[in-house]
Amino acid sequence: MNELFGSSRAARRITSTLAWLCYLFLLVPSLIVIPISFGNPGQIEFPPRQLTLDLYRQFFTDPAWWGSMVQSLLVAVATTLLTLLLAVPAAYALARSRLPGRRGLQGLFMMPMLVPVIVLGLGLYLQFSSWGLLDTTAGIILAHIMLTTPYIMVSVLSGLKHSDIALETVAAIMGASRVTIFFRVVLPQLKAAIAVGALFAFLMSLDEVVVAYFLTGTQTMTLPVKMFSSIRWELTPVLAAVSTLLTVLSLLIALGIIALQRKTEASS
C-alpha cells in the first residue's frame, strides 16, 4: 500500500506521470549519444539512417582525440595512485590518534569539495604561471591530487570507522609493530573502502574539466578539455563516439562502486 498519498488514486497518477517525465529527462540525454555514435559521420543524426563505426574510426585515428584520451587516462591513473599514497596514511592518522588540531586538518583535506572549482582553477593558474607548471603533466596531476583527496578521505575514514579497532589493540598487545599492524591488520580491512575511493578519484580526474582547462595547453590537453572546446566551436559528431565511450566507462565504474558498497554492507 502506498500510504504517502493516502488512498487517492488521482494524486498517485499525477505524481507518477510527473516522475516518469523527469526520469526521461534525466535518462535520455545520457543514453541518446549511443545510437548517434553509430550513425552518419557527416552530421549529428538521430535516429541514425545507417549504422557504421566511422565515428569510432575517426576518434581512434585522430591523434588530437586519441592523444587527449591517453593523456587523460595517464593523469587519472597517476592521480589515483598518488592520492591513495598520501591520503590513506593521513586518514589512518586522523582516525587513530589524538593529535590536537586534527579536526582542522580534516577540514583542510575536505576543503577542495567546498570551494568553487573556478576559484581553484584561477588560483592554480596564477600560481603555476609563476612556478613554470602551466601546460605540464606534473602540474595537472598535482591539481587533481588536491581535487580528489576529499573523496578518498571520506571513503577511507568511513572504512576505518567500521573496521574492528579491537583487532588492532589485540595485535598491539601481542607485540606487533606499528608497521605490521598497519599492513597486516588495518589495510586488509580497508580494501573495499580504498577501492571505492580509488574508483571515485579516477572518475573525478577523468571527467574534470574546469581546472584542466586553466592549466593544460596544446601539449597536455586532456580529453574533457578537448571535448569542451569541440562542443563550443565545432560540434563534430565524433563527440558522440567519445561520449559513448565515457558513458560506458562511467557506468562500469558506478557499478563497481555499488557492488563494493553492497559487499561491505553485507560483511559488516
Binding site: V28, P89, S97, L120, L122, M146, T169, R178, V209
Partner: protein, 285 residues
C-alpha cells in the same frame, strides 16, 4: 570513541609523520593558490580595494551577478517543484523497485558533464530531436530556440541539479512516520490536506538541504552557461574566465573569484548549520 583502546592509538610523532606529506601538499596546492588569488585582488602596487570598487561600478559585473542569482535561484526552484513529486514517487515504491528507479536518477550524476552538455544540444538544439519532431508535426512551422539561451542554461542546470534535490527530499520522506498519514486519513482528511499538513512540513529539512545544495552548486557553474547559454547568460564563473583569458585583467579576475568564494562560503556555512540542526549527515550521498 576510542578512549579505552589506547593500545591501538598512534603516538603524536607517528601521526604527524603520516599527516605531514598531505598537509604540505594541501598547503601548497590549495591554501597557497587561494592566498595568491586574494592577494592579487588587493595588490596593485600596494594594498588597495580598488578592484572591488571597480567591480561594484562595472555594469558587466552587476549584470553577471544578477544573471547568476536569477539562474541559480530560478533553477533551484524549478528543481524543487519537479524534484518533489519524483521524490514522492520514489518514496512510495517497494525497496527493490525504488533501487531500479534510483539508478535512473543517479545516471546523470555519474555521467560526465560534457557528455550531458553535448547530449542536451543533440536533444534540444535547433537541429535536435525535439525540434525535428516539432517541425515534422507542424510541417516546419514551429521551431523552438532552446539552446544557447536562458532556456538552454536552465535545462542543463536542471539535468545537473535534480538528482541532488531528489535525494535530499527522498531522505526526509523515507524517515517520515507513515502512521501519521494513516491516522489523518482515518479521521477523514483528504489527500491535499494530508499533503499540506503532514507530508510537506515533515519533509522540510530535506527540502531546505536540497535547496541549499542546489544554490551552492549552481552559483559556481561554469560549463553549463559556457556551452548551453548565449552571450547574455554569462555567470560569475564565466566572468572569472573572461577576465583571465580575454582581457588578461588578473586583478579583476581575482576580485570576482573572491566574491564567488565568499558567496559560496556563506552558503556552505548555512548548509552546515541546517544539516547539523536536522541531523542530516548524508543527504547528498
Amino acid at each position: 570513541m576510542a578512549s579505552s583502546t589506547s593500545a591501538s592509538d598512534l603516538g603524536p610523532g607517528t601521526a604527524l609523520l603520516l599527516l605531514a606529506p598531505l598537509t604540505v601538499l594541501m598547503a601548497a596546492i590549495l591554501l597557497y593558490p587561494l592566498g595568491v588569488t586574494v592577494w592579487t585582488s588587493v595588490n596593485n602596487g600596494g594594498f588597495t580595494l580598488s578592484a572591488y570598487a571597480d567591480l561594484a561600478q562595472s555594469t558587466l559585473f552587476l549584470k553577471v551577478l544578477r544573471n547568476t542569482f536569477e539562474i541559480a535561484i530560478g533553477g533551484t526552484l524549478m528543481s524543487l517543484v519537479i524534484g518533489y513529486p519524483v521524490a514522492m514517487h520514489l518514496a512510495a515504491q517497494p525497496p527493490t523497485r525504488r533501487t531500479a528507479y534510483l539508478i535512473m536518477v543517479m545516471l546523470p550524476f555519474w555521467t560526465s558533464i560534457l557528455v550531458k552538455s553535448f547530449a542536451l544540444v543533440a536533444v534540444f538544439g535547433n537541429q535536435g530531436l525535439v525540434n525535428q519532431l516539432l517541425g515534422f508535426l507542424s510541417g516546419g512551422a514551429i521551431k523552438l530556440p532552446m539552446m544557447f539561451n536562458r532556456v538552454g542554461v536552465i535545462l542543463g542546470m536542471l539535468n545537473f541539479l535534480l538528482p541532488f534535490m531528489i535525494l535530499s527530499i527522498l531522505g526526509s520522506l523515507l524517515s517520515l512516520d507513515r502512521r501519521l498519514i494513516l491516522a489523518a486519513e482515518t479521521m477523514g482528511a483528504g489527500p491535499l490536506r494530508i499533503f499540506w499538513r503532514i507530508t510537506l512540513p515533515l519533509s522540510m529539512p530535506g527540502m531546505i538541504a536540497g535547496i541549499l545544495i542546489n544554490v551552492t552548486l549552481s552559483i559556481g557553474m561554469y560549463i553549463t552557461p559556457a556551452l548551453l547559454g548565449g552571450r547574455q547568460d554569462m555567470m560569475v564563473a564565466n566572468l572569472v574566465d573572461f577576465y583571465t583569458r580575454q582581457t588578461l585583467d588578473w586583478t579583476a579576475a581575482s576580485a570576482t573569484a573572491v566574491v564567488l568564494l565568499v558567496l559560496s562560503g556563506l552558503l556552505v556555512a548555512l548548509l552546515g548549520r541546517v544539516r547539523g540542526a536536522a541531523g542530516l549527515s548524508e543527504a547528498g550521498a
